[in-house]
């Protein structure tokens, strides 16, 4: 489990800075540092095993059916990367503590940094490629937060957006590629995929997979032509640049190339794609870097160039080149992170990063100058520093490579690249620290505090040490990683500073000399460069994004004209077309299942239903009339359920019917009472044709279904286990509260949410335009002279206790006989609603001041607690336990835990129904504007005062 903890620690630890920032900036940085240090310590505790050639792994099943598992493994490659991510991460945390200004929210910065760190560690430790993809996307997201950390700067926001767009699109491409790769290999586990190299390369899907995977790697590692996001990401604070853009995020693409090297490399496509893109990037970016005046811009393009070199090395496909690449990953991380920190120090202390305003700082900032000279020399590839050795190894491979049958092509291009590399490294060092001292700088330059330069000093010491004693300092790690990457094909390689006089040395010397000359000629060269005027990538990018957004807007506005009729006609037409196509694709065979003869009563019910439907369709313009007719249909449907052995459905349907009609009546009170004729005859004909086709299709499908025997049903199981397992004889109810209790649980939540949306819609109805309309609303119907008819009031009050008892009875018998929480809830709701309708809102509400929100919340909570109790006892969610108890007068009652669940259901139903109707009537009262009647009964014999005056018809009071 140690492995999983290494990846998870930074994620969990991301809370630490957010919490400790209240204790001050030092505590915050310390807490962050401790998180990273603990992860690093865990990693190092595993290092001896890994260096001995062992592979440490942790496997936790997560979604085994999807092939997505929390599988981590640590080999030498993972160790090297994780070590770099955590080690440089620690240095960056120290550096950032001193770099960030007091006004910068440090807690947020370190929280983002740790999230990013966790995602990076996750990538390099994942054994499962789906897991790797998740971490990959997390790096894109967390780096977005880091790049855009200075959210007040437009450059920061734009740079973050651009980085997210490019790396996010690459992530999508990578998803496709890795899924194909997993399909070919038959497993999403890296350890399996790496063994299946031959099968993968023989597969016809190899090339698509390779292209998609490279799409992910190249965007992440800023390879040409996707490189342009990296310079724009330099708007981030310098610690972010030092971390993300030297050692970690941009190396993720290179890491994946190295990781998948055994499975993918060695083909012609790999050589030309990876090697070619890498080489072009290396040369192109080195040239651009020389002409950047911004220090971080120069370093950004230099990073792109070095990433190109790494890609090129892995693209060559030979084990020796892979070793050189691995070695250079370490070297580049040391000197480039040091240089980024150095640029941040210059920016911090001299107040600018513009090379044209700098120079002569060597005496003012001697420490920074020393570090920059050493790191710069390593970047330029000057002996005896580490950059020189890996560059020599690269040259050795390059001079022996040939492309397109031209043996000079690759060496020549590489020569250009290292020439410009030396030149821009010189320009950085000389341009900032040497030359004449300026009369004034934007700030008064002096050396940075210890905490700020110490991290880069550590890195520079490492660079020098590797350069002087490569075999001792880096040899074992490089060899172990090489063995892991190439599967042992690389053999032991002795790293050495001196290889004798050979072609690479000559090229190196020429590059250093040429670089110095280029620096001297920089001014005229820069003029030529600006005369060429390469296209600005940001303009192209912004143009593409704007064109895409514009196209999307045009398409949406063209298709979405606001007419529901058009959308629905399209959807229904498409559905009918699909159904007709399916129907015609095979000959129709009449089913053989015997039918049941219909008694006369059924035919009468059917005729009523057809007649009612026709009446609604023909008379739908008279809305009240349509409501009355539609209630006929609901009644017939529930009678049908009774006849066809579904008593529970019949009870539910009839009670839902009552509540729905009440609701529609209340809503219709405030809406137009008629529908005007608006559709043209052609439109009505079209709709009629669609309706006829749809109706015929549904009727035909039902008929065909009913004339065939169904497949074996899982209901056998429900029938067999309902009583013995669920303790109830009503199988439908047992399915609802036990077997499929989770459905019911979800359903009451849906009902609760619907009620809350209704609440939100109506609670705010008295604001804005809606409020003005309500205020000026006038009744458009004649009002009854009787507000609270005595007969109705008396009847409903007498019925309330009876209905409540019926509700309770239905509720209690539900488990064994037709009934249950739903129906009971609806029955009780109807009984309560009757009070509101008969006796008026004020009278009823005074007597039942229930909080409907609380009812819904209580219901859902009770249901959830019941389910979780079952889980706590080791049973599945909502598995019911039961016991039969004898209650005097009532008899044996099954006391089942399902009863508690059903209580939750009933409360939610009552709460939801009452909440909806309560607020509908609230809106109506606001519209009516009449003071609520003083009396709950128009004629009350018990009242001593005079009877309430009878309002005249049409007064509306």
């Amino acid at each position: 489990m140690t492995l999983a903890w290494i990846a998870l620690l930074p994620f969990l630890g991301a809370l630490a800075p957010a919490l400790t920032i209240r204790l001050g900036r030092n505590a915050c940085a310390l807490a962050t540092g401790l998180v990273t240090a603990s992860a690093l310590a865990l990693l190092l505790s595993l290092a001896p095993q890994v260096m001995a050639g062992e592979v440490v792994s942790t496997r936790v099943a997560w979604f085994p059916t999807l092939g997505l598992n929390l599988n981590f493994f640590l080999d030498a490659l993972g160790l090297m990367f994780a070590g770099m991510i955590l080690g440089i991460g620690l240095l960056v945390i120290i550096y950032a503590r001193f770099y960030l200004a007091k006004s910068d929210p440090m807690g947020r910065f370190f929280a983002f940094l740790l999230l990013f760190q966790g995602a990076m560690v996750g990538i390099v430790l994942s054994d499962n490629i789906l897991l790797l993809l998740i971490f990959w996307e997390l790096t894109s997201l967390s780096s977005f937060l880091l790049i855009g950390y200075w959210r007040h700067l437009p450059e920061g926001r734009q740079g973050a957006r651009m980085a997210l767009t490019i790396t996010g699109m690459g992530g999508l491409s990578l998803i496709g590629g890795l899924l194909i790769l997993g399909q070919i290999a038959g497993s999403y586990d890296l350890s399996v995929i790496l063994q299946s190299g031959a099968a993968i390369q023989a597969s016809p899907m190899y090339l698509p997979a390779l292209l998609l995977i490279l799409g992910g790697c190249f965007t992440k590692s800023a390879q040409f032509p996707f490189h342009f996001w990296l310079p724009h990401a330099m708007a981030a604070p310098t610690p972010v640049s030092a971390y993300l853009h030297s050692a970690t995020m941009v190396k993720a693409g290179v890491f994946l190339l190295a990781r998948l090297w055994p499975a993918l490399s060695g083909t012609e496509a790999w050589f030309y794609l990876v090697g070619g893109v890498g080489l072009v990037t290396m040369v192109f970016a080195a040239v651009v870097a020389l002409f950047k005046d911004d220090l971080k811009g120069l370093l950004a393009y230099s990073t792109i160039s070095h990433l190109g070199m790494l890609t090129f090395l892995f693209g060559l496909g030979t084990p020796a080149a892979a070793v050189a690449g691995i070695f250079h990953i370490i070297n580049h991380a040391t000197f480039k992170a040091a240089l980024f920190m150095n640029a941040g120090i210059v920016d911090h202390e001299a107040g600018t990063r513009d090379l044209r305003k700098l120079g002569g700082l060597v005496t003012l900032m001697p420490i920074a100058a020393t570090l920059a000279v050493l790191a710069g020399a390593a970047m330029a590839g000057i002996p005896p520093l580490n950059g020189f050795i890996s560059k020599e190894m690269m040259l050795e491979e390059a001079v022996h490579s040939s492309a397109f049958g031209l043996p000079w092509l690759i060496p020549a291009l590489v020569m250009v690249g290292i020439l410009f590399s030396a030149a821009y490294a010189f320009r950085y060092v000389v341009g900032v620290y040497f030359g004449p001292k300026r009369e004034s700088y934007p700030a008064k330059p002096h050396d940075a505090p210890f905490g700020m330069w110490a991290p880069s000093a550590l890195l520079v010491i490492l660079a020098v040490a590797i350069g002087l004693a490569p075999a001792l300092v880096a040899g074992p790690l490089v060899n172990a990683v090489a063995a892991a990457v190439t599967g042992g094909a690389a053999g032991e390689k002795h790293l050495a500073l001196w290889h004798g006089f050979n072609v690479p040395l000559a090229m190196s010397l020429a590059a250093i000399l040429g670089g110095a000359i280029l620096l001297a000629l920089h001014r005229p060269a820069a003029r030529i460069w600006s005369a060429i005027g390469l296209p600005e990538a940001k303009t192209l990018f912004d143009g593409t994004v704007a064109a895409g957004a514009g196209g999307a807007r045009d398409a949406t506005e063209g298709l979405h004209n606001g007419s529901l009729q058009r959308y629905l006609a399209t959807i229904l037409g498409a559905a009918i077309l699909a159904a007709v196509t399916g129907f015609l694709s095979a000959p129709y065979v009449e089913g053989l299942r015997p039918t049941l003869a219909a008694p006369g009563a059924a035919i009468i019910g059917w005729a009523l239903l057809i007649g009612g439907t026709a009446a609604v369709v023909l008379g739908h313009r008279q809305r009240y009339l349509a409501l009355i007719f539609i209630s006929v249909i609901g009644s017939i449907v529930s009678l049908g359920f009774v006849y066809l052995s579904a008593p529970d459905l019949a009870l539910t349907q009839i009670s839902v019917e009552v509540v729905t009609i009440l609701l529609l009546l209340l809503a219709l009170n405030l809406m137009p009472k008629t529908t005007p004729v608006e559709s043209s005859p052609a439109r009505r004909t079209r709709d009629g044709v669609l309706a006829t086709l749809g109706g015929l299709g549904m009727a035909g499908a039902t008929w065909a279904l009913l004339r065939r025997e169904g497949p074996p049903s899982i209901s056998e199981f429900h029938w067999a286990n309902s009583y013995s397992g669920g303790g109830g004889t009503n199988v439908v109810n047992v399915i609802l509260v036990d077997f499929r209790g989770f459905d019911t649980f979800g359903e009451i939540i849906v009902l609760g949410i619907a009620a809350l949306i209704i609440f939100a819609l109506l609670e705010t109805a008295d604001r804005g335009a809606s409020g003005q309309r309500l205020a000026s609303w006038e009744p458009d119907q004649r009002r009854s002279p009787e507000h609270h008819p005595m007969m109705l009031v008396v009847a409903t009050r007498l019925l309330l206790p009876l209905a409540s008892v019926v509700g309770l009875y239905i509720f209690l018998r539900g488990h064994n006989e037709p009934g249950g929480g739903f129906i009971a809830g609806l029955v009780v709701s109807i009984a309560l609603l009757m009070q509101y309708m008969a006796s008026g809102y004020a009278w009823s509400n005074r007597r039942l001041p229930a909080d409907h929100h609380a009812l819904i919340g209580f219901g859902v909570t009770v249901a959830a607690v019941t389910g979780l109790t079952a889980m706590a006892l080791g049973a599945p969610f909502l598995k019911s336990a039961y016991e039969y108890v004898s209650i005097p007068l009532i008899g044996d009652v099954g006391l089942s835990s399902a009863l508690a669940f059903d209580i939750g259901v009933a409360f939610t139903v009552v709460g939801a129904v009452m909440l909806a109707l309560h607020h509908l009537s609230g809106v109506a009262r606001r519209a009516e504007k009449a003071a609520p009647s003083e009396y709950a009964m128009d004629v009350d014999p018990s009242r001593t005062s005079a009877p309430a005056p009878t309002p005249k018809p049409g007064e509306g009071a």
Binding site: A646, L649, G697, I714, V732, L736
Partner: protein
């Protein structure tokens, strides 16, 4: 005439009515159409357990045959969910009507509420009287 024919034709007629009504240009017929579609689809789902008379899925001493309980349980859930949906849609249409002053959904009745309140633009079905102030 068989029960199967009655149920199948009823499903067809209810669906046809539902389709015709949801294609109207005002919210209220659309709500009615959705109710019709709910009836049709619920009955169809119920029918997938095949039609059986006098064999409710309830244990008894002498019960040997019973109808399929599973579609019933599913349809019971569906009835309640369609109730929630109908309630939501009808309240939504009420609020839309109050907000926009029209219950048209055919895209033709776009009324600019702000402009109307300010006394510009066309009047809606439920015009705002400018001599009455909305409650705060």
């Amino acid at each position: 005439m068989s029960i199967e024919f009655l149920v199948a034709s009823a499903v067809g007629v209810l669906s046809a009515a539902g389709i015709y009504l949801v294609l109207r240009g005002r919210t209220f017929p659309v709500v009615l159409g959705l109710a019709f579609m709910s009836y049709a689809i619920n009955v169809f789902l119920f029918a997938s357990g095949r039609l059986v008379v006098n064999q409710p899925p309830i244990y008894g001493k002498d019960v040997a045959a019973y109808t399929d309980p599973l579609p019933q349980a599913l349809v019971l859930t569906a009835i309640v969910i369609s109730f929630g949906m109908t309630a939501l849609v009808v309240v939504l249409s009420l609020r839309t009507f109050l907000e926009a002053g029209t219950d048209q959904v055919d895209g033709a009745g776009e009324i600019d509420a702000e402009a109307e309140i300010a006394g510009e633009g066309p009047a809606s079905d439920l015009p705002v009287r400018r001599d009455v102030e909305a409650k705060p």
